[in-house]
């Protein structure tokens, strides 16, 4: 169908290909939750991005219940992601439309649907405590320094 026709299902709001492998339930259930969720995962944050900055940016799309900062499992310090729980799905959709792919703290941040926060999911799943993606990264990222990089002078 021609792109001129405004439709409800717009690409910005669609599910990405990521699926949480630790989700307890069937793939269908996960899909259903993702399609109705009003919780967003926010990634590629700097370790120094604060809850306050998240609040300021994400409130531009609506009110939310909660922000849960992602923490290093060992250090309990921010490790570059968070969850934003909006009250309504349509507000979360607007965040997907207008915040995903824009900058916070000079970094392009990514938002994605999340099935819903569950205790424990605020921790990085990498072996060293942070996010898995940081363990495979080969380049230096000033905003997401690995533990050994932090002590480099």
């Amino acid at each position: 169908i021609g792109i001129e026709m405004p439709t409800f299902a717009s690409p910005s709001v669609e599910l990405s290909s990521y699926r949480d492998r630790r989700f307890k339930g069937s793939a269908g259930e996960l899909q259903r939750l993702l399609r109705t969720s009003s919780t967003l995962y926010v990634g590629n944050l700097s370790f120094y991005t604060t809850e306050e900055q998240i609040y300021e940016l994400f409130s531009k799309c609506g009110d939310f219940k909660n922000v849960i900062m992602g923490l290093d499992k060992i250090e309990k310090t921010p490790c570059g992601f968070c969850f934003v729980e909006y009250h309504s799905r349509s507000d979360a959709e607007n965040a997907m439309r207008y915040i995903n792919g824009t900058r916070l703290h000079d970094r392009i941040i990514r938002t994605d649907w999340d099935a819903g926060f569950v205790e424990g999911r605020q921790y990085g799943r990498g072996k060293t405590g942070g996010q898995v993606r940081d363990e495979y990264r080969t380049y230096f990222d000033e905003g997401r320094p690995r533990r050994d990089e932090r002590y480099q002078r």
Binding site: F8, Y55, D63
Partner: protein, 805 residues
């Protein structure tokens, strides 16, 4: 411009697009037809004319089997793709030439669409239908005479008595906006009737009230660009078009290539169409002011920006607004489509786009979409056109800054928000030195205030050190304070404060994870400076002081810490502060601790409202209290007021919705024995939760009793809402009257910066919340905005009422 979002105007037809496809040959053919029709006019290897010719033949062949589907698709295209109007009218014209009956059916279908849209208050759809019908005259499908009759009937609505002016305005606007398409044809075929129509319109325009104009202007002055009332502007543009003998060069007219075929066709006469009579429930679009910030002198060498009164300007702007309407859900597509504007070589496109986007951002009373929609589209535009767009945007910012002294307060706020957000996406790079002359001005002057407020917003999106480093030295006085708590009980001189010992004891207890009751115990013997004469004998200001400041300081690490603290000791808050006075005391103490961190105060107040520690009325009274007069013109304080009003409005709306739903289910249950449609999802039995659709028990039919109780709750909430508005407006009146009287006595000019900000804030409350305030208009008029009030203040109220008059 209608405030309604486009998907509210759909008739549900495009839901059918997404239904699971039944595998059948017929379905495949239908889909192919649909695709062909939708795509006509897009980039193609063949010419538009040959595509239209080919498509017309294909459709003619399929009319027998797919008549109704084709009718619906074409009608839908007419309304949903107004910028392709002339393409589809040509197609209909060709079909009519081949099949007179089909032409007649289409006209009937379109007429029904127009009537339905008018009855359903779908104003844009109605206007596009009308325009389509008008253009069909150019394609020899409809007779000029019958169209003129329709236009006359529409303009007759302007002669009705006892109807809102906005109704008459809309009908005249709809008629005027068809004339660029069909003016020439009407002039050639029915010159006298056309003249007569125009005279009727002119008479109406001369008589209409324009009180609303002042409320909807972005700038108070008309230099360098007048901000015209929208109907006045369009009328001037049409008059100029008439002067040019209706020679209009902008609209593409594919039907001209088919003239020989089309003029052989038989025309249809429109049936009599009368505007549906006014009904009190009808909501008409509000008037607006045409936003102009550029003229041709602002643009560099190249294609010229059409003049303010040229019809081209109207058509281009309307088209750009339509693109935004169509694509606002996909910001990248939106930017791409804007830059792909079909006639971009004829105009300085970047300037037109920027002007149109700011027009929407600054639209009064409120922008059509969220502010971030415009901010993010501008960012995409800069990405797609990095060599020109950023410069145009910088030029626009400069222009807006230069003219900021006369910008209305609501737009000032939006400009601040937008600029800080935009800079945050471009490493906060800006040539601040260019603006250093603003440092010589009174700090309350809009220019230095703008810089200060932008930096405060930028601070929220980054951090203090960054802001300090990015500003040139002279701007030091405008840099915000470091957003830290000021805990007096651990500061120098704490020893002499009456609450210090208890504060320290409290810190120890809370850190030891004590229970709320323990807190009350620690505070127990703090003296009460107040006499136990009045109602709230529990109110002990010192207890509140020690508790609030100590607790919030302990939670100062982050918002989450503060929220956890409030949650854990919610009971103590409720015990200590029952009356409004006590609640205001909480706010005062929060302010004492956190006044350097505006964002923290906003979120804390939001949380305390949500958890019902404080009432909306307490916040309102606190904002207007003498203690806060030093903060009165700061943006964050109004952020707090508006979030408070919004919370109340949301609460009332939700209760109203729940009541309506419950009544509906009750009616279903009572009317027949059949089961009504089952509710889906789990029953949510806590209707005070912030749910997506807070609904009572889904599985039970509501009892009369339940509905009664919901009604009571709604009435109570509405009373609270009314009370809140009364408090706010009364305080405004008091504070403004005081100022005016004092200036009068002292022989001073009243028009100080403070006065301008304050009256701007009053205006902003009316406009931002106009839908809610409207409900209480007559009470406000009777109790507060009476004739004996100072005319300056009364004027603001009258401008507000004129918006829907």
């Amino acid at each position: 411009m209608s405030r309604r979002r486009p998907h509210e105007e759909e008739d549900g037809y495009d839901r059918a697009y997404r239904k699971r496809r039944r595998v059948s040959e017929n379905q495949e053919i239908e889909d192919r037809l649909e695709s062909l029709i939708l795509r006509v006019g897009e980039k193609s290897t063949s010419s538009l004319e040959s595509n239209l010719e080919g498509l017309a033949s294909v459709l003619e062949a399929d009319l027998a089997s797919f008549r109704s589907k084709i009718l619906r698709i074409l009608t839908d295209c007419a309304i949903k793709m107004p910028e392709k109007c002339t393409i589809y009218t040509t197609l209909v014209g060709l079909l009519n030439a081949k099949n007179y009956n089909f032409g007649g059916e289409f006209v009937e279908y379109m007429v029904r669409n127009l009537k339905d849209s008018l009855k359903a208050c779908k104003w844009n759809a109605a206007r596009y239908s009308l325009r389509f019908l008008a253009d069909l005259v150019n394609c020899h499908v409809i007779s000029a005479g019958s169209l003129l009759q329709l236009l006359d009937n529409m303009v007759d609505a302007a002669k009705e008595d006892g109807v809102p002016q906005v109704r008459k305005d809309w009908y005249v606007f709809a008629v005027l906006s068809t004339l660029p398409w069909v003016g020439r044809e009407l002039y050639e075929k029915k010159e006298q009737s056309l003249e007569h129509l125009l005279v009727s319109i002119e008479v109406f325009l001369g008589k209409r009230s324009k009180k609303h104009h002042a409320a909807l202007r972005v700038w108070a002055l008309d230099t360098p660009h007048p901000q015209e009332e929208y109907l006045d502007c369009l009328w001037a543009q049409i008059r100029k078009l008439r002067q040019d003998n209706w020679a209009e060069k902008h609209i593409p007219r594919p039907y001209l290539a088919f003239d020989s075929i089309l003029c052989e066709a038989l025309q249809h006469n429109l049936p009599t169409i009368l505007p549906p009579p006014h009904h009190d429930s009808y909501q008409y679009p509000m008037p607006h002011v045409v936003f102009r910030m550029f003229d041709y002198t602002d643009c560099p060498e190249g294609p010229i920006l059409p003049g303010a009164h040229s019809i081209e300007r109207f058509l281009i702007e309307e088209h750009l607004h339509q693109i935004i309407e169509m694509h606002h859900l996909e910001r990248k597509d939106c930017a791409a489509h804007l830059l792909n504007f079909p006639y971009k070589s004829k105009i300085p496109l970047d300037y037109s786009i920027v002007e149109v986007i700011f027009a929407e951002l600054f639209h009064m009373p409120s922008p059509r979409y969220l502010e971030i929609v415009y901010g993010s589209i501008l960012i995409e535009l800069c990405k797609l056109q990095p060599s020109t767009m950023p410069q145009v945007l910088a030029q626009a910012t400069e222009i807006l800054f230069i003219r900021i002294d006369t910008m209305n307060t609501a737009c000032f706020d939006r400009f601040v928000n937008w600029f800080a957000y935009h800079l945050s996406n471009f490493q906060f790079r800006w040539s601040w030195e260019d603006w250093d002359s603003c440092l010589q001005l009174d700090p309350e002057h809009p220019r230095p205030k703008f810089v200060r407020e932008v930096l405060l917003k930028a601070l929220r999106l980054s951090y203090h050190q960054r802001i300090k480093e990015m500003m040139p030295e002279p701007f030091e006085s405008l840099i915000p304070a470091k957003p830290e708590p000021k805990f007096k009980y651990a500061a120098e001189g704490a020893g002499s404060l009456p609450g210090t010992t208890h504060a320290h004891k409290l810190v120890v207890s809370i850190r030891a994870k004590c229970k709320p009751e323990e807190v009350l115990h620690v505070l127990k013997d703090l003296p009460n400076s107040r006499h136990d004469d009045d109602a709230d004998s529990r109110f002990n200001p010192l207890k509140i002081d020690v508790f609030v400041q100590t607790l919030l300081n302990l939670g100062s690490k982050s918002f989450s810490h503060s929220f956890a603290a409030i949650s854990k000791f919610h009971y103590v808050f409720k015990e200590l502060a029952d009356s409004e006075e006590a609640q205001i005391c909480i706010l005062r103490n929060m302010f004492e601790l956190w006044n350097d961190h505006q964002q923290m105060m906003c979120v804390l107040i939001d949380k305390m409202l949500k958890t019902q520690i404080i009432e909306c009325s307490a916040v309102a009274n606190w904002i207007f209290s003498k203690e806060m007069s030093g903060e009165f013109t700061k943006l964050y304080l109004w952020e707090i007021l508006h979030l408070t009003i919004r919370k109340m409005s949301k609460h009332v709306s939700r209760l109203g919705r729940e009541l309506a739903e419950a009544r509906e289910r009750l009616r279903h249950a009572e009317s027949d024995s059949d089961e009504s449609e089952d509710g889906d999802g789990e029953g949510n039995n806590n209707s005070s939760k912030h749910g997506i659709s807070g609904v009572g028990d889904d599985h039970e039919k509501p009892s009369e009793d339940m509905v009664d109780r919901m009604e009571e709750r709604l009435e109570a909430a509405q009373a609270d809402q009314k009370n809140l508005f009364l408090i706010i407006f009364q305080r405004f009146i008091m504070i403004l009257s005081e100022h005016l009287v004092r200036c009068d006595t002292d022989g001073r000019d009243f028009n100080t910066h403070w006065y301008k900000w304050t009256i701007g804030r009053l205006q902003q409350v009316f406009l931002v919340h106009h839908e809610q305030v409207q409900k209480y208009s007559s009470t406000l008029e009777t109790l507060l905005f009476t004739q004996d009030l100072d005319p300056h203040i009364l004027e603001v109220f009258h401008q507000f009422t004129s918006l829907r008059a």
